[in-house]
Each structure stands twice: as C-alpha cells, then as structure tokens.
Assembly symmetry: C2
Homo-oligomer: 390 residues x 2
Amino acid sequence: MAAFPGEEYEQRLARTRARMAEAEVDVLLVTDPANMNYLTGYDAWSFYVPQAVIVPLQAGAPLWVGRGMDAQSAILTTTLPHDHILSYADDYVESTVKHPMQHVASVLADHGFGKARIGYEGNAYFFTARNLDVLRHSLPDARFDDIDLLVNWVRTVKSPREIEVMRQAARIVERVMQVAIDAVAVGTRQCDAAALISEAQIRGTEEFGGDAPANPPSILSAENAATPHAAWSDAPFRRDTATCLELSGCRRRYHCAMSRTVYLGKPPDEMRRVADATSEGMAAALAAVKPGALCQDVELAWRKTINRAGFSKTSRIGYSIGVNYPPNWADHTASLREDDTTVMEPNMTFHLMLGMWMEGWGFELSDTFRVTETGHEVFASFPRQLFVKA
Amino acid sequence: MAAFPGEEYEQRLARTRARMAEAEVDVLLVTDPANMNYLTGYDAWSFYVPQAVIVPLQAGAPLWVGRGMDAQSAILTTTLPHDHILSYADDYVESTVKHPMQHVASVLADHGFGKARIGYEGNAYFFTARNLDVLRHSLPDARFDDIDLLVNWVRTVKSPREIEVMRQAARIVERVMQVAIDAVAVGTRQCDAAALISEAQIRGTEEFGGDAPANPPSILSAENAATPHAAWSDAPFRRDTATCLELSGCRRRYHCAMSRTVYLGKPPDEMRRVADATSEGMAAALAAVKPGALCQDVELAWRKTINRAGFSKTSRIGYSIGVNYPPNWADHTASLREDDTTVMEPNMTFHLMLGMWMEGWGFELSDTFRVTETGHEVFASFPRQLFVKA
C-alpha cells in the first residue's frame, strides 16, 4: 500500500513532467530516496545500494529499478504496474567487476533512451561520482544533464494530503518534546534520555504510529550545546548546564521538527537574554511570513530583532522541510537567509531553526510552519520558552 | 574526546599511508563519514553537507574541512591539532552559486596539492557526481584517482580496541533481541515494538550506552517478511505469521548485528524445515571460518548444506561489518559469496546474514563473528532457534 492514493502520485508526476519539459530532458533518472518515494510511494531501507525511478517525459507510469530482493518492497509500497518493477541480480552489489548502474543503463537503453537527453540528480545523496561515470560510459550516445533538485522543488509546495500528514507528525513531536524535557535531569545519562525520545518518536500516538526521523535525536548538552550536530554520550546531564533538544515527529517519512532548550539549575542572565531575544526574533520572523514574501524577508525580520538585542547569527535560520530519509529531513531547496529570493507560496513548509551556538554553550528554539493564504500556521503547539529545571 | 587514544589513530593512518603509497597518490580526500571517523575520531551528524578529511602521504596530522558550525565538533571529537581544523562559511550550504567542494579544493591548493595526485572515494555515499565535477574544475592541474574503498579495506581488519568495542555492542544486542522477541505479540502494533527496540538499542547496558545503529530496526512481519528492507507500519502483528528481526547493538558507531525470527502460532512444517536447514547451514558456514580460508569457502559450506535440505539462496550470506553511519553498517569490502576470494585474517569481522526470503513469507537468522587465530568467535550469545509464541 502506497502512503497516498494514486491520483496524488499522478499530480506529482504531472508537475514533475512540466519541469522536465522546461529543462528539455526526455527522461529523468531519480535516485534521491525521498524523490523516489515522492513520485511512486516506494518506501524501503534499500538506498544503501544503487536504485532509481525512471520518469519518461511522455505519459505513462515510471519504472523502478533496484536490487532483486527489494523488488517485492516496490510491489508492496508503490502504485506502479508490476511489469514496471525491474531489478538486478545480487552479484552486482559491491562487486569489483560490475556496477548496478550498468544495469540501470541497460534498462534506459531497452526503453529507447540510449540516445536521449537524460536528466540526473548530480548532487543528490547516494548518487556517487562513479554512478555518473558508469552511466556515461554505458550510454555514450546519451546526453546527461544535471537537473539536481528538479523534483525537490516540486516537493517544496505541499499538497493538502501532505499537510495533513505533517499535522500528524506535529501531534507526535508534541509528545516527543514533553518526554525529552522530562527526561533531561541531573545525573541521568544522555543516552537514556535519547532512548526515551526515540521510543516516543517511533511509538507516535494511538492514532498515528511514528517513523524514525531522518535525523536522530539531537541532544546537545553542556559544551556540546556549542555545536549543533554532536552525538549524545554516556555522560550524565550536569547541574548548571543547558541542553538543546532538536527533535522531530516523523509520519510516513514526513517531518515536523521542533527545538527547545532545558537548563538544569538557575540560568545565567546571558542565557535568559539570548532566550528572550530568540523568542522575539521568532515572533518577528513568523510575522513576516505570507504568500509573496521572499525567504530573505523572513530572515531580515529576525536579524533586525536580535541585532537590536545585541546578538547575531551567521548561519541560515531555516529551510524547506517535508518527506525524507537519513541523513537529513530538509528539502534542500529554499533557505531562510540573506539573498534567498524564493517567493513564498501557500503550503510551502519550513523548519524555522534558531540555533544560537555561542562560545561553550548554546540555545535553540525552532518550530515547523506552513505558509497559509494569509500568513502562517505553526504545526505543533508547545510553549516557546527556556525550560528551567531545578 | 576521541573514542580511542591517539596511538590507535596513528596506527590506522600508517596502514592507510602504506596503501596510499601502493596506489601512488600524494593525498587522500576522505569523504565517507565512517572513514573520517576511523582516521580521526570525528563523530557528528554533519555528513549531510560536504566535508572531508585530507590525508597527505607524507607524515603529519590530517586536515578536517567542514561547515563552520561543525568545527567545534571536530575540536571535541578528534585528536587533530586545532590549526588542522578548517571550515567554510554557512552560505556555501545548499547555495545556488557556489559549492563547498570549491572550498575543499582551495584548501588542497593552499597545502600544495594543486598539481598533486589526489585519491578520492568515487563510490562512497555522499560523494556526489557534482562533488567530483567541482573538484576537477577547481583544480584543473591535479590528477584525480578513484581509490574507492582504500580506507574501507584498512578498516576490514580490526584492532584489539575495535574488537573490544564490538564486544560491548554484542552485550547491547543481546538485550535488544530479547526486548524484540518479547515485544512481538498478536495485536501489538509494529511501531510499538520498533519503539521498544530502539529504546533498548540506545539505552545500551548500565556499563555501555548505545548509539542509534546505521540501519534502523528491521521488523519484517507477515507479507513483509518476504522482502528484507521493508519499513514497519502501524499494523498489529497477526496470529499465524512470522516476523523477522534484523537488529544491532551499536557502540561508538561499531555494530554487532543479529537476526532472529518469531512465529506467532503454530509454525507451518515448511517454516520448520527452513529454520532447521538455516541453522545447520550457519553451523557449517562458521565451521569453515579460519585464517587462510577464502570468503567463498564459507558460502560454499552453507550452500552445500542447505541444498541438501532442498533450499537455495540467490543473495550473498554476509559481509564485513564494523564502524559506520546510516544508511548501512557494512564495510563494503569482503562479502561471503561465490567468487569472493578475500583471504580471511584474524580480526576480520563479518555479519553472517542468512535471510531466506520466500514467496510471501520469510525466515532470518544471523550473527556477527570475528575470525580468530584458529577459527571464529561469535560475539553475541543468543539461542539460534525459531522463536514460537502462542
């Protein structure tokens, strides 16, 4: 069973094909796992071997090509006709003498694309340099065009069904954040808090079971709060330190992310000031969101506000978010930052991520929102404050 | 704090440099996150943006290059001198006008490698086709050699310290599998079992906290047991179905994997026969393991045994395993399969993965072992049987 009805995928394909026509390609070789899922429903942890969805510009169902043992997952999770599900033998996997992209090339050739204009995702995770080398070598008469992010830009404006699933993810992350704040306590090991958080993420709610998010629980405690992508450890949480929590609910691989910060003890004045400024900055940023606004406008509203309070932030304050697999839940398209002139449209969705990574400590506050017809809707409902525990 | 003392990394670098000399490269551009960790200790969830460890053939500490906000993670987790930790500005990230590999290229040039023989990991996850294009364009006088898996082959033979950490992961997976078998019950949602499994993986033991493994819990229930990489769902486990569990303990990013199968009800005779044959096949395979044996010898011992019982398996039965990040815990070097002539050496470690994916159902049995001086050592202790629950 695909996550959505067939007509949802048909609409996505139609929007993709419109962009393919603009890009002047005959066929699209989609290898980003999130894009494969988006266009066909395909959902399996098989992206550690080469696989692809082939989308011809002309009407008709795409083709799925992957490892033989994963073809059954394609049958179970996509809307594709079974004769569009093709696979390669297991001895292609990690072979020293042949490469799965040779098989993909032969499928392209068999379907009349040996001399076609083939669009590929040149900067997508898992589309390695060798993948392209093998394809070029196998199809010397084809023209290869790097159309990276073409499908990601289609994904950037969500459908009503996708918004509904992100709302379900919001119900999950509300629970997850409460579990997390409860778990962070002096003397508790960081890994034990991470364990409870992951449990809550995957259990979901009674109504909506969860997936493992594309990013693991981010639990940045004490000195790790100064760097956003540190791993948790066995060390216990300590008194008089801050812990930043960047977490997500994940439903049908759609994400609703949220960050909050917990302080164990009496927070220093400086942290209070950062917390207040960040909260004001978030309000200012959200107030700037509406159809027609540019992404850079939202960042500017934030920047003006925190600059007034005497703070600054050198990194972007958010990005488009939606369906994804590890290692990252972002759509990799629009960013909330200076010089990003993407025009906001209704049902674009962003993770507004205000990470203040200071010298030796940090503070995080973030929420996921959608652009509405008139402004914004924050998906999850959770107090925006510094959580202080004795 | 790096996971191991400095001398461990020095030994790894020395072994890597010996292979670099054989490969005739002046410098290695290491982008595989597991290889970056292996050579320097670097551990952060930052591999969703371009980053690299640069290893000169000549003695001296490697260089770390990554995103500015992650430099602090490099300071906290590696043994590198601080002036070997270099970073790029945040506006390189997902930019439409510049690429982080331009910055990496400038670092290479600044350190005298603008005309060097540069080895890169051409088939490594996250080393995209565009990464290589940008490097070639930025350093037109350099020679780029695809030395993919060079570091992975160094990783394939573990050090005593690594073996010790894999033993810790074994203690974790023993607990995890018991939690999993207890959790699979008629009427329980699959996601709720997954939640408890993940919780156990990350909690670890009192002595050794866990990491989130490179592969999520694999819970293949009923029809999903016919395909190895399916995701769990909200659906409850049903009576008279099998559930295959492929799980891992993960400690300091080192994995000990294990698979077992649970049947809810009275197993059909066919499943009993597969279970018995698989168990015999595993014993035969393990009996063939010793220094000097070839990987294909192990597979042959398995194949002869299950063929006698009237079964066959078209996919490989195992692979080298160790330190890794998502999406996969394999070393991507030696496989236990026909025609793999890798010679087994002491302290190579393998996941012997006997997945029998049949028509509409399946059975899995697997364990992780190391090659010893005289034979093998299975890391985890757990009954090798079909678990039958009423």
